[in-house]
C-alpha cells in the first residue's frame, strides 16, 4: 500500500483498501472501448454466464438499497417524528432500514465473491493459454521479441484485466445506477430544489476530469523518476568497487543528487495536485449542502416541502460524489485494459509458422543418417542465410562446422531440430522429411548442447533429468559419470540436490557445459548438436570437457560448431561454411593440403598463438 496503491488517483481514500497487485502502466490516452477486446473477453466469461447474470442482479439490488435509505430517513422524520409522533411507526421503519442494510450487505458480498471467482478463473485460463502459446511459437518469434516483453503479457497485462473485471466493470454499473437513481429521486421529491442542487454537478464533473488526467500524468512521472533513482542506485551499488577504485565518490554523489531531486520535484508536483483536489470536491459538496439548506428551508417555511425532504436531500448530496470519482478512475482502467487486451490477444492470435502438419506421423526410432538436400533458408524472407546447402552425414559420423561468425553454422544446426522451416529443399533423417513427422518425435531423438548451456531452477539432478524425465536417480548418476560431471557435482555442498540459482550463474561456464553434457547423455539421442564454448574455461575443467566430449560424440551422428582444434581434427568431415554456403568439405588433413578458406583461417589462428608466446621474451628484454 505504498504511494498511490489505490490506483492512479493519489487520493484513493477508501480505495486504498481494495488495492490489488499494482502493475505500472503507461497508457495515458487510448481507446476506452475496443469491441474486439471486449468480445474476446466476453468469450472467456461465457462459461460463467450465470454467475455474471447473478452479479448484475445483485448490483441492481444493492444500488436500489443504497438509494432507498435516505428516503426511509425522510419517511421516518416526516411521518413519525415531526408531523406526528408515532413510536411504533418509527420502530417499524427502523427495522425496515436495518433489513435493507442486511439485504444490501448480502448482495454486495455475493456480487463481489461471484465476480472475483469468475475473474480469477478467466485470468487463470488466459495465463495458461498464453503460456502454451509462447511454448508453441517458433524460435522466429522469440528471436524477434524480447523475453521481458513477452513475459509482461502473462504477468502484467493479465493483471490489468483483473482490476478491470473485479473493480472497474462492476463499479461502472453501480455508479451509473446510483447517479441516475439519485437524480431521479431528487427530481421526484422536488424538481426545483433538485435542479438547484444538481447545478454544481457539471462543475464537479469538469473538475474531476481535469484533475484525474493531470494527476495520472503526474503519477506516471513519479513512477518514472523513482525508476531512475532505483537505476542510478543499482548501478552505483553494483559498481561501488569501481567507483571507489577510481575515487569517483564525489562526482557520483552529485549525479545521484540530481536524479534524486528530479524524483522529489516530480513527487511534489503530484502532491500539489493531490492536495488541491479533495478541498475542491469538498467545497462543491458543501456548496450543494448550503444550497439545499437555504432553498430547502425556504421551501419548508413556505410549505412546499417537508423537513424530511431536506434531510433526504442532504444525505443524497453526500452520496453523489463518490460515484463521479470512481467513474473517472474506471475510465483510466478501461483505457489500460483495452491496451493490455489488444497486446494479449495479438499474442494469442500470432500465427504459428512452424507447426506439426495435420498428417504428421511419429518419427520411428532412427539410425541417424542426416541429409541436407539443396537446402535454402532465410529468417525473414529477404536475406538468404543458407544457399543450396547439400551434404550427407552417415550414422555415427561427427561433422564439424567451421567458418566465420554469421556464416550460417548455427542455422544449419537449428534447422536439424526444425527450429525453423526451410524455404527450399529438404532435410531428411533416415530418408524421412523432417516436416512430415511430429516435432516432438523428431526432437526427442536429438540432443542439443548450446554454447552457453542453460540451467533451470531446481536441483542439479533436476537439470540433468531434463534430458529424460523418466530417468531414475541411478541413471542420472551414471550419465553424470559418463559426462565427467559426477566428480564436480559430488563436491557440491548438497551434491545432486544442490540448488541452481539465477539460471546457473553460480556455476562456471565450464561446469554448466558439463551438466549439459550429462543432460544430453541421459537423453541418449541418436543425433547430437553441439555448439562448443568459445570462452576459456579453467585448465582442469577443460581437460574434463575434452574427455567427456569424446565419449559423448562416440556412436552418434554429431554436428559440432567447432572451436577446438582437437574436435576439428577428430571429425569425420569438416564443413567450412561461409556466406551461407559450404565452401569446402573434407577431413582436416585434406583441407590443409588444399588452398582455400580453411588454410587461411588456420594460418591466422596459428600466427596469433605464436605472437602471444612471442611477446614474452621481448617484454623481458625491454624491462
Amino acid at each position: 500500500m505504498i504511494a498511490g496503491a489505490g490506483g492512479p488517483m493519489m487520493w484513493g481514500g477508501g480505495g486504498d483498501w481494495h488495492g490489488g497487485p499494482q502493475a505500472q502502466h503507461t497508457v495515458i490516452d487510448g481507446r476506452v472501448f475496443d469491441p474486439r477486446v471486449m468480445k474476446r473477453l466476453w468469450g472467456y466469461m461465457q462459461p460463467y454466464k450465470m454467475q455474471v447474470l447473478l452479479t448484475v442482479a445483485m448490483v441492481i439490488v444493492s444500488a436500489g438499497m443504497q438509494l432507498l435509505s435516505p428516503y426511509l430517513l425522510k419517511i421516518a422524520i416526516d411521518n413519525y417524528i415531526v408531523a406526528q409522533t408515532d413510536v411504533v411507526g418509527l420502530s417499524v421503519i427502523s427495522v425496515i432500514f436495518g433489513l435493507t442494510l442486511i439485504v444490501s450487505y448480502v448482495s454486495m458480498s455475493s456480487q463481489a465473491w461471484a465476480m472475483a471467482n469468475v475473474t480469477q478463473r478467466v485470468l487463470n485460463k488466459m495465463r495458461g493459454e498464453l503460456f502454451v502459446k509462447i511454448n508453441r511459437l517458433p524460435l522466429t518469434y522469440h528471436d524477434q521479441h524480447e523475453s521481458g516483453v513477452t513475459m509482461s503479457r502473462i504477468i502484467n497485462d493479465v493483471t490489468v484485466f483483473q482490476q478491470l473485471l473485479t473493480n472497474g466493470a462492476i463499479n461502472v454499473v453501480t455508479d451509473l445506477l446510483i447517479l441516475v437513481g439519485i437524480a431521479s429521486i431528487m427530481l421526484a421529491l422536488n424538481w426545483k430544489l433538485a435542479l438547484l442542487t444538481l447545478s454544481v454537478m457539471p462543475v464537479m464533473i469538469g473538475a474531476t476530469i481535469f484533475f484525474t488526467s493531470r494527476a495520472r500524468k503526474a503519477y506516471l512521472r513519479t513512477r518514472e523518476t523513482i525508476g531512475e533513482v532505483a537505476a542510478s542506485f543499482q548501478e552505483n551499488v553494483s559498481g561501488v568497487r569501481v567507483v571507489q577504485a577510481f575515487a569517483r565518490e564525489e562526482v557520483s554523489q552529485n549525479r545521484f543528487d540530481e536524479i534524486n531531486q528530479g524524483n522529489r520535484n516530480a513527487n511534489l508536483g503530484a502532491v500539489l495536485l493531490s492536495s488541491a483536489f479533495p478541498p475542491i470536491v469538498e467545497f462543491m459538496g458543501m456548496l450543494a449542502t448550503a444550497i439545499v439548506l437555504f432553498f430547502g428551508t425556504m421551501a419548508v417555511m413556505s410549505g412546499d416541502i417537508t423537513v424530511g425532504v431536506v434531510v433526504a436531500f442532504l444525505t443524497y448530496v453526500t452520496r453523489f460524489f463518490q460515484p463521479i470519482r470512481e467513474l473517472a478512475q474506471v475510465y483510466n482502467l478501461f483505457q489500460q485494459a483495452m491496451a493490455a487486451g489488444e497486446k494479449i490477444f495479438d499474442l494469442l492470435d500470432e500465427p504459428i509458422t512452424v507447426d506439426n502438419r495435420p498428417d504428421a506421423t511419429e518419427l520411428a526410432p532412427i539410425e541417424g543418417r542426416v541429409e541436407f538436400d539443396h537446402v535454402s533458408f532465410s529468417y525473414r524472407g529477404d536475406v538468404p542465410v543458407l544457399k543450396d546447402v547439400s551434404f550427407v552425414a552417415e550414422p555415427g559420423q561427427t561433422i564439424a562446422l567451421v567458418g566465420p561468425t554469421g556464416a550460417g553454422k548455427t542455422s544449419i544446426a537449428s534447422l536439424l531440430a526444425r527450429f525453423y522451416d526451410i524455404n527450399e529443399g529438404a532435410i531428411l533423417i533416415d530418408g524421412t522429411d523432417t516436416r512430415s513427422v511430429t516435432m516432438e518425435s523428431l526432437r526427442r531423438q536429438m540432443g542439443l548442447v548450446p554454447q552457453d548451456p542453460f540451467l533451470f531452477s531446481g536441483t542439479v539432478r533436476d537439470n540433468i533429468r531434463f534430458g529424460r524425465p523418466s530417468a531414475t536417480d541411478e541413471e542420472i548418476v551414471d550419465a553424470a559419470k559418463l559426462a565427467n560431471t559426477h566428480d564436480f557435482i559430488s563436491r557440491l555442498p548438497q551434491g545432486y540436490n544442490t540448488e541452481v540459482n539465477e539460471r546457473g550463474q553460480n556455476y562456471s561456464q565450464g561446469q554448466r557445459q558439463l551438466i549439459a553434457f550429462a543432460r544430453a547423455v541421459l537423453a541418449n539421442p541418436r543425433i547430437l548438436i553441439l555448439d562448443e564454448a568459445t570462452a576459456s574455461v579453467d585448465t582442469r575443467t577443460e581437460v574434463l570437457i575434452q574427455a567427456a566430449l569424446a565419449r559423448l560424440l562416440h556412436g552418434r551422428t554429431s554436428f559440432v560448431i567447432a572451436h577446438r582444434l582437437s574436435t576439428i581434427r577428430n571429425a569425420d568431415t569438416v564443413l567450412v561454411v561461409n556466406g551461407g554456403e559450404i565452401v569446402q568439405r573434407g577431413t582436416h588433413r585434406e583441407l590443409l593440403s588444399e588452398e582455400g578458406m580453411y588454410k587461411d583461417l588456420y594460418l591466422m589462428q596459428y600466427r596469433r598463438e605464436m605472437r602471444q608466446l612471442d611477446a614474452v621474451p621481448e617484454e623481458m628484454a625491454t624491462a
Binding site: L139, A245, V616
Partner: protein
C-alpha cells in the same frame, strides 16, 4: 520508539513547514466540527417553520430566514477556508516528507559509497535497492500523510466524542458503539489481508520466474521437446495462484461490504433512538441530523485507523532497516590528519601481511614480497588461494589484519585514500560500465580529460576501432538505454579507463574468463601496451601470461608457496610444476599439432613470405619449441 524519534529528527530541518501543517490541521478539524452545528440550527428553524409539535433549538429571533441565510453563507465561507487549510496541511506535510525522503536517500547513497569492500561483499545489492526505494517510500508515506492522518483521527475522535456526549450522552453512547466494532473489523482485515496480499505477490513472482526461465531457455525446452513438462509446471503454479486469489477474495468480499454497511447501522441506531428522544422532547431534529453527520464524519478516519497502525509499524521496520545501513561503520577511511600520497615511482611491498575477512579464517598468512618500479609480478594459484585478496590490499579496498602494505615506503593506511587510489589503476574481473557515453566511461577516473586524450587511450586499449564503428562514436550511450557491449568490448573500455589514469601501479584481475579467444588476443595486445613501464600485479590464469612476468608469486591457501621466474620455479617448485603441467595439457592439442605439422606450416608460411621470412621470428620459434620440448621432458620424468 527510538526509531520513531530518530525519524522525527529528520523532520527537524523542516520544522516550520511541519508546524504550519499541523496548525492547518487543527483549524481544519475545528471547522469540520463546527459545520454540523450550523446544520442543526438551520434544520431546527425549518422544523419550527413547518410548525411541527416537536421542540427545536431555533432561537425565536425575529427572522429565522435571516439565520438560515447567514448559516448557508457561513458554511460556504467556512468550506473555502477549510479547503485552503486542507490544502496547506497536506501539501506542507508532504513537502516535509518528500524532503526527508530525499535527504535520507542522499545520505544512504553517500554512506554506501564510503562503506568498504568488506561490507559490500556481504551485502546483497537487491536488498540495498529495496532500502533506497520501497523502504524510503514507506517512510515517506508515513511521515507525510500517515502521521498527519493519525493526528487527524485523534483530534476528530476526541472532538466528536465530546460534542456528542455533551449533546446527548445516551444517544452518544449508542451511536459510538459502532466505533469499536469498526476498529475490530479493520484490524482483522489488515491482519488477514496483508499476509494474503504478500503471499499473492510471492506466488506471482514465482509464476513470473517460471515464465522468464521458460523464455530464456526456450531453445533447450524445444530441443528436448519438454513443453508438456513446462506447461504442467506452469499450470500447477497458475492454479496455486488462483487459489490464493480466491482465498483473498473470500475475505474481501465479506469484509469490504461490511465496512460500507456498518456506518449505516449507526444511522439506524441514531434514527430509532434519536427519533424516540425527539418524541420525548430530549432531542431536536436538528440535533439528530447533526448527530448523523458527526457519525459519518468519524467513520472515514476510524476506518483508516487499522490501516494507519499497520502503516506505522511498517514504516518503523523500514526505518530500522535503513538506519542499520546508515549505522554500519566505515572501516576503511582516512586517518585523522592523513597526508596525501606524493607522486609515486611504484614500489610495492607486502611486509608480513595477514588478512582475514570479518574475523573469519586467514585468507592471507604472512605474505611478504615486493614489486620494484616497472616490474611485472604475476600471482598464480588455485581459486581461493588469495590472489585477489593481495591485489585488493594495494588500493586499500580492505585493511590488513596484520603486517603492512607499503607503497614507496608509505603504509597505505597512513595516506589519504583518494591520493592512493588515483595512482593505482585497476582492471577488475567485473567490468562495470556506467550509464552515460563511451567517453564518460573512459574518462571515469579523470572527468576533465580532453577528447584527444580519451581517444588516444582508447586506441592504446584497442577499443578505438569498435567505438568508431558505432553510429555516435564516443557519444554512444552505454548501459541500460544504450548499446549492448560484448564482454570483450567492455573489458577494453575498462582498460582504457584504467590507462587514462596513467597510474604508476597497475592491477589486472583475471579478465579472460568472460571473453572468447579472439577477443582475448586483442585484449592481450592492449595489455602489453598498458603494462609497459608500470609496476603491474597481474592475476594469471594461464601460463602464457605468467611467462611475461619478471616475478611469479605462487600462492597456496593464503601463503606464498614459491617465488621466482618461470625457469626457477619449474626447477624448484612442485606446485608450480603441477599447474604448469595441467596448463600444458590444455595446450597439448595445439602444441602437438604444431610439432606434427610444423614442416607443413613452415612451407605454407614460407610461401606467404611474412612469417618465416623474419629471422627474428625464426629464432623465437626455436626458443618456443625448445621450451615446450623441455616441458615434455619434465613431464616424462614425472610421469606416473
Amino acid at each position: 520508539m527510538g526509531t520513531t524519534l530518530r525519524l522525527l529528527s529528520y523532520l527537524k530541518k523542516y520544522w516550520i513547514t511541519a508546524s504550519i501543517a499541523y496548525v492547518c490541521l487543527l483549524i481544519g478539524t475545528g471547522i469540520d466540527l463546527y459545520v454540523p452545528q450550523l446544520l442543526r440550527s438551520v434544520i431546527d428553524c425549518a422544523v419550527r417553520g413547518q410548525g411541527g409539535a416537536v421542540k427545536t433549538t431555533c432561537a425565536s429571533t425575529p427572522d429565522p430566514l435571516e439565520l438560515v441565510r447567514n448559516a448557508a453563507l457561513l458554511i460556504v465561507g467556512l468550506t473555502v477556508m477549510k479547503g485552503l487549510f486542507t490544502f496547506g496541511q497536506t501539501y506542507l506535510a508532504e513537502y516535509g516528507a518528500q524532503s526527508t525522503a530525499y535527504d535520507i536517500r542522499n545520505e544512504l547513497y553517500r554512506h554506501l559509497q564510503r562503506l568498504s569492500f568488506s561490507w559490500h561483499d556481504r551485502a546483497q545489492s537487491g536488498g540495498l535497492m529495496a532500502r533506497a526505494t520501497s523502504d524510503v517510500e514507506q517512510l515517506r508515506n508515513f511521515t507525510g500523510r500517515g502521521f498527519l492522518q493519525l493526528a487527524q483521527v485523534i483530534c476528530m475522535t476526541v472532538g466528536i466524542t465530546v460534542i456528542l456526549v455533551v449533546t446527548n450522552w445516551k444517544l452518544a453512547l449508542i451511536s459510538l458503539l459502532i466505533v469499536p466494532v469498526f476498529l475490530r473489523v479493520t484490524t482483522f482485515y489488515t491482519r488477514t489481508i496483508r499476509p494474503q496480499f504478500r503471499q499473492i505477490q510471492q506466488e506471482l513472482s514465482v509464476l513470473a520466474a517460471i515464465v522468464q526461465e521458460n523464455l530464456a531457455g526456450n531453445k533447450v525446452v524445444k530441443a528436448f521437446a519438454r513443453e508438456p513438462e513446462q506447461i504442467e509446471k506452469f499450470e500447477q503454479q497458475n492454479d496455486y495462484l488462483l487459489n490464493q486469489y480466491l482465498k483473498q477474495a473470500r475475505v474481501t468480499s465479506r469484509v469490504n461490504p461490511l465496512m460500507d454497511v456498518l456506518g449505516n447501522f449507526g444511522t439506524v441506531a441514531v434514527l430509532w433512538m434519536g427519533g424516540w428522544l425527539i418524541i420525548t422532547g430530549d432531542l431536536t431534529v436538528g440535533q439528530l441530523v447533526a448527530f448523523n453527520t458527526y457519525l459519518l464524519l468519524i467513520i472515514r478516519p476510524v476506518r483508516r485507523l487499522g490501516f494507519l497502525i499497520a502503516q506505522a509499524s511498517q514504516a518503523n521496520a523500514a526505518a530500522d532497516r535503513i538506519f542499520e545501513i546508515l549505522d554500519a561503520p566505515v572501516s576503511v577511511e582516512d586517518k585523522p590528519g592523513a597526508l596525501p600520497l606524493p607522486p609515486i615511482s611504484g614500489h610495492v611491498q607486502f611486509d608480513h601481511v595477514t588478512l582475514s575477512y570479518y574475523g573469519g579464517e586467514k585468507v592471507l598468512d604472512d605474505v611478504t614480497f615486493d614489486a620494484q618500479p616497472g616490474q611485472i609480478v604475476a600471482l598464480l594459484g588455485a581459486t581461493g588461494s588469495g590472489k585477489t585478496s593481495i591485489v585488493n590490499l594495494v588500493p586499500r579496498f580492505y585493511d590488513v589484519t596484520g603486517g603492512r602494505v607499503l607503497i614507496d615506503g608509505h603504509d597505505v593506511r597512513e595516506v589519504q585514500l583518494n591520493s592512493l587510489r588515483t595512482q593505482v589503476g585497476i582492471v577488475l574481473q567485473d567490468t562495470t560500465l556506467f550509464t552515460g557515453t563511451v567517453r564518460d566511461n573512459i574518462a571515469f577516473g579523470v572527468p576533465h580529460a580532453t577528447d584527444e586524450h580519451v581517444i588516444a587511450m582508447a586506441k592504446a586499449a584497442r577499443a578505438h576501432d569498435f567505438i568508431a564503428g558505432f553510429p555516435e562514436g564516443y557519444d554512444t550511450l552505454v548501459g541500460e538505454r544504450g548499446v549492448t557491449l560484448s564482454g570483450g568490448q567492455k573489458q577494453r573500455i575498462a582498460i582504457a579507463r584504467a590507462l587514462l589514469l596513467d597510474p604508476r601501479i597497475l592491477i589486472l584481475d583475471d579478465f579472460t574468463s568472460a571473453v572468447d579467444t579472439e577477443t582475448e588476443a586483442l585484449i592481450r595486445e592492449a595489455l602489453d601496451v598498458l603494462m609497459r613501464g608500470r609496476t603491474t600485479l597481474v592475476i594469471a590464469q594461464r601460463v602464457s601470461t605468467v611467462l611475461s612476468a619478471h616475478k611469479i608469486v605462487v600462492l597456496e591457501r593464503g601463503e606464498i608457496a614459491g617465488m621466482g621466474t618461470h625457469e626457477e620455479l619449474l626447477e624448484t617448485n612442485p606446485i608450480y610444476a603441477e599447474i604448469y603441467r595441467l596448463q600444458l595439457m590444455d595446450e597439448t592439442v595445439k602444441e602437438l599439432f604444431h610439432g606434427e605439422e610444423l614442416a607443413l606450416v613452415g612451407s605454407l608460411s614460407g610461401g606467404n613470405g611474412q612469417h618465416a621470412g623474419n629471422g627474428h621470428d625464426d629464432q623465437r620459434e626455436g626458443a618456443l619449441n625448445g621450451r615446450s620440448g623441455n616441458g615434455h621432458g619434465r613431464n616424462g620424468r614425472n610421469g606416473r
